[in-house]
Assembly symmetry: C2
């Protein structure tokens, strides 16, 4: 039984510190994310006529809302446990949940924008791969938020249930985020082919700018995934809880810590 | 030098078991992967006229080679350490490296097909987001293979160097695979918009089949990622080696295991 206890005391020391490289990686991810939002705005402003709700420009609210909500805010919601690693767990949880609500509401505005635009124009809905992936993202995101809320914020769930659900929550959170990035890439590609047509292959400035925007989207996804998955950057308290839950399980059920 | 020996003897003991659910998840991923390859073939055969090298059908070799090489084989190369968890480490390593070589060679045929087709038709190269992402995948894949080979198969690298590089290798391997899936989705979307145009929005059978193919691509990516990242499905020897390497580091350099 001694290894987890030794591990805890060593981790207790580590909890006070922040890994030296983490702030630089987080700063880099924020630089990428903000550039992404700014460049989406620049693309829509310079080449697509800007944004307005009551006109043909209503469509343009769709990409901007999705990049702000489902890419930038969702990505940052995933990073909350790495960035605020020394704050109280409950505060971090609430911030994580709130960022996801903001992301969802902004994304909903983006969803209404495109459906409303299609209705006014008489265009068909939900025929493209982009729209199928988008609806999948919304359903998964909503279910994940509901289940996450009931397990982690609502006071009913037991400690062991939370520990068992946590890895699934993290996996599906990362997957939904990556699917959002993929869906955004599909949407960008669709917009480029619809708007530029044959001019796309002539290296028009709009096409090059949008390609760079696509690469930035992929890089932001990669940067968030790197910070999220790096083992030695995980919030120490989570590992402590896990170890304690395993010790507790060992004591009560007689299982070995590695057996589950 | 004793820790690696201890590690080997522990590997013998721990290696006897396979997590109960793992084979089902692996079987499911293979079912998805094979359906993906078959459906790509069906799409090209039924709606795109089939495949031939010396004609306009040369283009069709591109999606088929990429789905077989950079999606199915690359995905399976990542799973080798989970599937063959009880085989000798060296055998598994060689299989991992070989699958990646097969994937790269098949993908190169797919790359030649599209460049050759563009040249014969007089089409512009490398203007689209799909092609930019594709070239990025190729460069990263090649570099990852070379660096992976020099660290893990070439006998020069030290034990501690390998341990320090391993997490980076795994992260970049998963990222390149996911970028390959994203690039395939972009290519599929491009083919649909070029070939179907306005008919895409009329729910043509080809469009629906290709959308399902796109969702299957995303699901295969998700299934491989799940098997790869589930903590209790990791090859036991790796965790033990890591721990032992840290202990060894502690003993020799006086660092605490959590300090790096």
């Amino acid at each position: 039984m001694s290894p987890p206890i030794v591990c805890l005391s060593m981790e207790g020391g580590a909890a006070a510190t922040t890994p030296a490289a983490l702030p630089y990686y987080v700063a880099f991810s924020q630089l990428l994310g903000l550039t992404l939002v700014a460049m989406t705005g620049a693309w829509l402003g310079l080449y697509r006529g800007g944004i307005a709700w009551e006109s043909d420009l209503q469509f343009n609210a769709h990409p901007l809302c999705m990049v702000i909500g489902l890419i930038f805010l969702q990505g940052n919601a995933l990073l909350v446990y790495r960035v605020f690693r020394n704050e109280a767990k409950r505060t971090t949880k609430v911030l994580h949940g709130l960022l996801h609500i903001f992301a969802l509401v902004i994304a909903l505005v983006g969803l209404v924008a495109v459906f409303d635009y299609h209705r006014k124009k008489g265009y068909a809905d939900l025929y493209s791969l982009h729209s199928w992936c988008g609806i999948l993202v919304f359903v998964l995101y909503f279910v994940q938020w509901l289940v996450g809320f009931s397990f982690f914020l609502f006071p009913g769930a037991s400690f062991s249930l939370r520990s068992r659900y946590r890895p699934q929550h993290i996996f599906f959170g990362a997957t939904i985020f990556l699917l959002s990035v993929g869906t955004a890439l599909l949407g960008l590609k669709e917009a480029l082919l619809f708007n530029l047509g044959g001019k796309y292959s002539a290296f028009e400035p709009e096409g090059v700018l949008a390609n760079v925007l696509g690469l930035l989207l992929a890089c932001f996804g990669g940067a968030v995934l790197y910070i999220l998955t790096r083992a030695d950057w995980k919030r120490p308290s989570q590992a402590e809880e896990q170890a304690l839950s395993m010790d507790f399980k060992t004591l009560t059920e007689g299982d070995s810590p590695g057996s589950q």
